[in-house]
């Protein structure tokens, strides 16, 4: 959310840096300038506290970053991240497809809602990481188990926001669909999905974060590779530098995923009143 909060544009709480930057190059540039400033400040705090603590368990920012560099070039971190990204993409993609699909069904069909809403409420209150050992027994260690857990966890925010938004679409929209004699396929493509696109995207954005958390949990227990396994493995061998490297890389993945998602969202909502 920070990015959005800071994106306040030319107006209010941008702060002096923001105002100067926006005067120079416009709001988009000011946004990234602010983002960069924030990141640098965070690293500065890290660096400073690590010097204060002065304990090898808590490496400094600079050493952690250089560790990451060497682990990427010399070690296996690149392939570790690659494996996780594929799983994240699969898990998030499937949650999105299933969540939007089921959400549209539940939101736009009264009958489906009557039948399924209790089932959905039942299932979505289960903390699925608890059943991870069962998934491992079922599907073994590896990608399928990890992706399953990601889907079982990240599906719900998408499904619920989509269904809620669809169910509360203005009745007039349905009247217009009928008055324009739209076929069902055309109605969904041109009207019923676009009408709730902002909510669908909000649900998907929550799912990005949830997917990442579920991915790491799944990989810690249900896998023998990936970034989650990398971190837990580093921890169990008391390798605090590798642990920190893994955590920082994980944060980086989250930041990248959210930034990429925001770009997609902006593009998808282009040409709408803000």
């Amino acid at each position: 959310m920070t990015t959005v909060g800071l994106a306040g544009g030319t107006g209010a709480p941008g702060g002096r840096v923001g105002r100067v930057a926006s005067r120079l190059t416009g709001p988009a540039a000011s946004r990234s300038a602010l983002g960069l400033t924030g990141l640098l400040a965070a690293f500065a705090v890290w660096q400073w506290t690590s010097l204060l603590v002065h304990n090898p368990i808590y490496p400094s920012a600079t050493s952690a970053l250089s560790d990451i560099g060497t682990m990427f070039t010399g070690g296996n971190l690149a392939s570790v991240v690659g494996v996780s990204l594929v799983r994240l993409g699969l898990g998030f993609g499937l949650s999105g497809l299933l969540g939007v699909g089921l959400g549209l069904l539940l939101g736009y069909s009264r009958t489906a809602r009557d039948y399924l809403s209790s089932v959905v409420d039942f299932l979505r209150s289960i903390p699925f990481p608890l059943v991870l050992p069962l998934l491992v027994l079922l599907a073994g260690l590896g990608t399928s188990t990890v992706v399953m857990l990601v889907v079982l966890t990240a599906l719900w925010p998408v499904l619920v926001t989509t269904a809620d938004a669809a169910a509360s679409v203005d009745p007039l929209v349905h009247d217009v669909v009928r008055a324009c004699k739209l076929s069902r396929a055309r109605a969904f493509r041109r009207v019923l999905v676009p009408a709730i696109l902002p909510e669908i995207l909000a649900g998907l954005r929550v799912a990005v974060g949830v997917s990442l958390a579920a991915l790491v949990i799944a990989e810690m227990i249900g896998s023998s590779n990936g970034i989650g396994y990398f971190i837990v493995n580093a921890e169990s061998s008391y390798d605090s530098r590798a642990t920190f490297a893994g955590v920082v890389v994980l944060g980086g993945i989250g930041w990248l995923a959210d930034t990429a998602f925001l770009a997609v969202e902006r593009r998808a909502l282009r040409g709408r009143p803000s």
Binding site: D170, L172, V173, D175, V176, R178, A179, C180, K181, L182, S183, R186, R190, V191, P194, A195, L197, G271, R272, P273
Partner: protein
């Protein structure tokens, strides 16, 4: 029907509007939030001749919108029927178009005006669809705004886009639900004339639902007055004002004032249980007078 605004020779070629729209004995109850069924329409019957413009006026909350939704096939009547020629109206038929009151919702903000209009067209290639939609926008004077979004236009312009959408197909009956209620007074007079012009040019039948008696008299061939809920027809007034009509001349015509008074008397004279004759079925004796009706205490008209 004799002298109609610009009717001579401009009627859309190839479209013939010769069927009567018949609304016969329509009753409709709707379920309220508390689960009970409230009677909204109690036995409504009227007809619309080919090319006629009929206004339906009634107090707010009378069930005008329900009547309109029933006529359009958006709602099925509990009893009675809506027929067009020999054909029963069930789902919204191809020859019927609707203009809704709230253009900010009926036009979709994610579509350009052209696409909003073209949405109502099907069964043709994309190119032809866009061509026709562009033509319809041209017809309402918004040809230059095809590539804009509806929210970039003023309210009156948006309602004209909605009008273009309603008229881009081969429409025989245009149904309008308080189409000018959400725009300012000046824009409103312009839109009224716009609709009269298009009606004159295209020759469709039109049903205008409104709570504005002046607007009904100014526009219609005939005004039908509804009672308050449950709605029934309490009378109708044939509007014999000459066409083409004009806001200055027509509204200053003494005949306009007379007709206005007649319609107002019909509308104002109802709404109290005693006036409508026999007590109506449905909700019991409790006088269901909506708050907006307290004016009737003074003006005591038949």
């Amino acid at each position: 029907m004799a002298s109609r605004w610009g009717r001579e020779g401009i009627a859309a070629p190839g479209v013939r509007h010769e069927r009567r729209l018949v609304v016969r004995g329509v009753r409709k109850g709707l379920r309220t939030a508390s689960g009970e069924v409230r009677e909204i329409l109690a036995d409504v019957s009227f007809e619309v001749a080919p090319g006629e413009l009929v206004a339906v006026v009634g107090p707010s909350g009378a069930g005008k919108t329900t009547l309109l939704r029933t006529i359009s096939g958006l709602l099925a009547p509990d009893e009675g029927e809506v027929r067009y020629g020999g054909e029963a109206v069930d789902d919204v038929p191809a020859w019927l178009s609707i203009v809704f009151q709230d253009y900010s919702k009926s036009l979709f903000p994610w579509m350009r005006n052209l696409d909003n209009v073209a949405l109502a067209l099907s069964g043709m290639g994309r190119h032809e669809r866009e061509q026709r939609a562009a033509g319809a926008l041209e017809r309402v004077g918004l040809g230059a705004f095809a590539r804009s979004y509806p929210w970039e236009l003023s309210g009156g312009m948006q309602q004209r886009v909605a009008l273009a959408r309603a008229l881009c197909g081969e429409v025989s009956v245009l149904v309008m639900d308080e189409p000018f209620a959400s725009v300012d007074a000046l824009t409103r007079t312009q839109l009224e004339d716009e609709v009269l012009r298009l009606w004159g040019e295209m020759g469709f039948s039109a049903i205008l639902v409104t709570h504005d008696v002046g607007e009904a008299v100014y526009m219609a061939d005939r005004v039908i007055a509804l009672s308050s809920r449950p709605a029934r027809i309490v009378g109708e007034v044939a509007i014999d004002l000459p066409r083409p009509r004009d806001h200055l001349a027509t509204r200053q015509d003494p005949r306009f004032g007379q007709l206005y008074g007649e319609v107002l008397a019909l509308v104002e004279g109802v709404g109290r249980p005693a006036a409508g004759g026999a007590p109506l079925p449905g909700p019991p004796a409790a006088p269901a007078v909506p708050p907006a009706r307290h004016r009737q205490e003074e003006g005591d008209l038949p």
